[in-house]
Symmetry: C2
Subunit: 486 residues, 2 copies
Amino acid sequence: MLIAYCLLLIANCLLSIAYSYIYSMRHILPIILFVPFLAHTQVPSDSTALYIKNIYRNSYTEQKAYKWLTTLTKDIGHRVSGSPQAARAVEWAKQVMDTCGFDKVWLQEVKVPHWVRGDNEQVIMISTESGAVSLNALALGNSPGTGNSGVRAQVIEVKSLEQLKSMPDDDVKGKIVFFNRPMDSGLMNTFAAYGGAGDQRGNGPVVAAEKGAVAAVVRSLCPRLDDFPHTGATHLSETVKNIPSVAVSTNDAEQLSKSISLGPTTVFIRTTCEMLDSVLSYNVIGEIKGSVSPDTIILVGGHLDSWDIGEGAHDDGAGVVQSMEALYRLVQNGYKPRHTIRCVLFMNEENGLRGGKKYAEEAIKNNQFHLVAIETDAGGATPQAFGCTMGADSLVDQHITYMKTYMKALEPYYVRIESGGGGADISALKPKTGLLIGLRPDSSRYFDYHHSANDVLENVHPHELESGAAAITSFIYLVDQNGIGK
Amino acid sequence: MLIAYCLLLIANCLLSIAYSYIYSMRHILPIILFVPFLAHTQVPSDSTALYIKNIYRNSYTEQKAYKWLTTLTKDIGHRVSGSPQAARAVEWAKQVMDTCGFDKVWLQEVKVPHWVRGDNEQVIMISTESGAVSLNALALGNSPGTGNSGVRAQVIEVKSLEQLKSMPDDDVKGKIVFFNRPMDSGLMNTFAAYGGAGDQRGNGPVVAAEKGAVAAVVRSLCPRLDDFPHTGATHLSETVKNIPSVAVSTNDAEQLSKSISLGPTTVFIRTTCEMLDSVLSYNVIGEIKGSVSPDTIILVGGHLDSWDIGEGAHDDGAGVVQSMEALYRLVQNGYKPRHTIRCVLFMNEENGLRGGKKYAEEAIKNNQFHLVAIETDAGGATPQAFGCTMGADSLVDQHITYMKTYMKALEPYYVRIESGGGGADISALKPKTGLLIGLRPDSSRYFDYHHSANDVLENVHPHELESGAAAITSFIYLVDQNGIGK
């Protein structure tokens, strides 16, 4: 015991001497020497601290991201892939970037699916006990419609895909399947809760179709009890005929479940949604050319499309305007980046991921290496971390250890770096990227709004949104200056 | 350079050996040996991590704090000191605590000031340019009223107390002084912005009175431009006659400023607020007796009074119910604390601090030592840190270094320990407390609501509120188990 204690004392002594010396020589030291020894001690220089302080100050006072979000949500509104609003959003984003002083702004062609909701949706619950009750519902994205005449059948409730799969086909055939497992309300991270319930919306309708059901009803992926239905993509089967599927609000899921527990309940569904022909759309890209390593890219992006209700304010208007502000702010600062910094507004994240795939395909074809790809698609709340997952090499932990040395500079803003994260649009870029990184905001309120009529500007707070924009700008600056280690 | 690098290598080698040995012996080591060397390496045990995970899970799923807050805000409402609602809040809190299985619940007598707003307040701006325009205004707490006939005078605008002090008395005499320095919108921490503008409300009216002004108008301490006036305490002078003072909304402050810039502007103020005789009220206290050191107390508290508008939901209903839930949750877990854990709901934080002073006076008289005193009075948003300031000894940095060893357990919840913080109600306890600690939630939205009709339950999010309750409960558990170092 005493030996260990003495070793500690000696080691600390040596560390202190070595650190003092190295710190005094820091400007002429190759940065690699600091890794991983200084991870817990390095303090950002005064000039770095001041640079970042000003990024935050200017973001808060100018509120560029919030002003852009106001236009995107209030003048353009929701913008599902293939819609006229999505086309307007492309045009708007390019026009704005054209005025920002970037070195280059361009559109990248992407063919996107064009799903339309159709007119007046109806979901009616009918039972002896309750009579006929209209439920708050929305067709799921990609779902086929019932057509004008609708579909009516007895409804059976299940809590999981496994439960449904284990049922005899005859018990399901001709019925409507109701998936009613709530999101786990006991988790701090509501994305984890979303992940734990999401298979019902994503794959439930296909499994129900395989068992012979005529339609599917899914409890909205919302952690609260309220009256807002939440839509979102459902996968389509290539082997069985896809069935109409809808989401009902959490309050109405409770109501439907109660009715089923009291006696046989039928549901009538009328939806006229349909998948039209694909449409030519675009990713919108802007960049500032690097002065030292112009062929190495630091990418930041969000997605320009949204669902076809609400205003797509958190999902992902927030990510769009934060990404734009990051480049704007660096240009405003007169910053000359070492690497090329690129803002990519992806099209069609919600129901196809065509924009992300197209961007990656081109980047791989043209051998464009991305030092990091940062995605902001988790809402406009106060950021807590940048979450990292493996890119082209398998050194994610080493990269994080190294980056922690300079991420001290974001400690005053309660933002850290950690493992886990990334994002859907950047995932295909993995072979040409050092690290895939996702901004992680506080998730407490996100799924109250997500994919619902509630995802509007009024539920985005300017200070929180700008905290995210400033964190991203600062992070890009730090990565550009310091790299990610090797 | 090479020497330093070699020293680093040797030191790290020695550290690794020493740490491995110490870690394997950790159960028989006196904890003091770990300080400060392991601050960056110790990992919470699986059982600690699980214990905390369950605290969070149970807080989120049961939402006890949020349910209590619903009663406090919707059934009782706002509760300024001395009011019937404040009396009802005392009664309610005691009744609730009586059902929670605490070892002891009692009331501590406190004489509190009883300020009343009176009827229909009027603030009217009059100028040639604008005619007569009614402004959104609230009398400041403690302020004398104008009486029914009101006061009307020309208004002069100042940006600071210093500016006012430097003006010739004749320029101020008989006028109404308008303090119009906005909160600094460039800071992440809105409490710092509040602190930077707060002297106008706190001391502005007295300075204006000293210069011969007949009334004071203060720009609301709100970072946004909106129509809600925000009240709050103003200090009273014991040497000059205090003058009526009101806060106007930020939008109306802009309007008034514009009018003044265009030409002579008068303001008419009518308020009938007044200070009545002091009233007997109470701090409400509950405790769980310690099993090892019952004479050493871990205190957690918030304040039961609020301003007389809105519902006092964030300020400080949130702190009240979080403090109650912390003890409730530990009792529910069957936890037998080492130290006595005490929840104190202070009366009269807003305009007198009589409850905090009375509690400290008794504690000092009875020689009751508090290991830590934790105050939660910064709103119900997602917590980011526990901020510590010096208590009875001067070892705050050493305490923090030590506590960081076990605060690793709160890393998954994005809560850390740092210096700075504390709270108004616990400040007088300093001579009998190891560390004064304040919960620091995300401050982005707090001052949108603070002291206004906007501080209502609807602006508190249950998940965020419960994150705070769970963080406090977990922190108390960790401090009780591990102490604060010596």
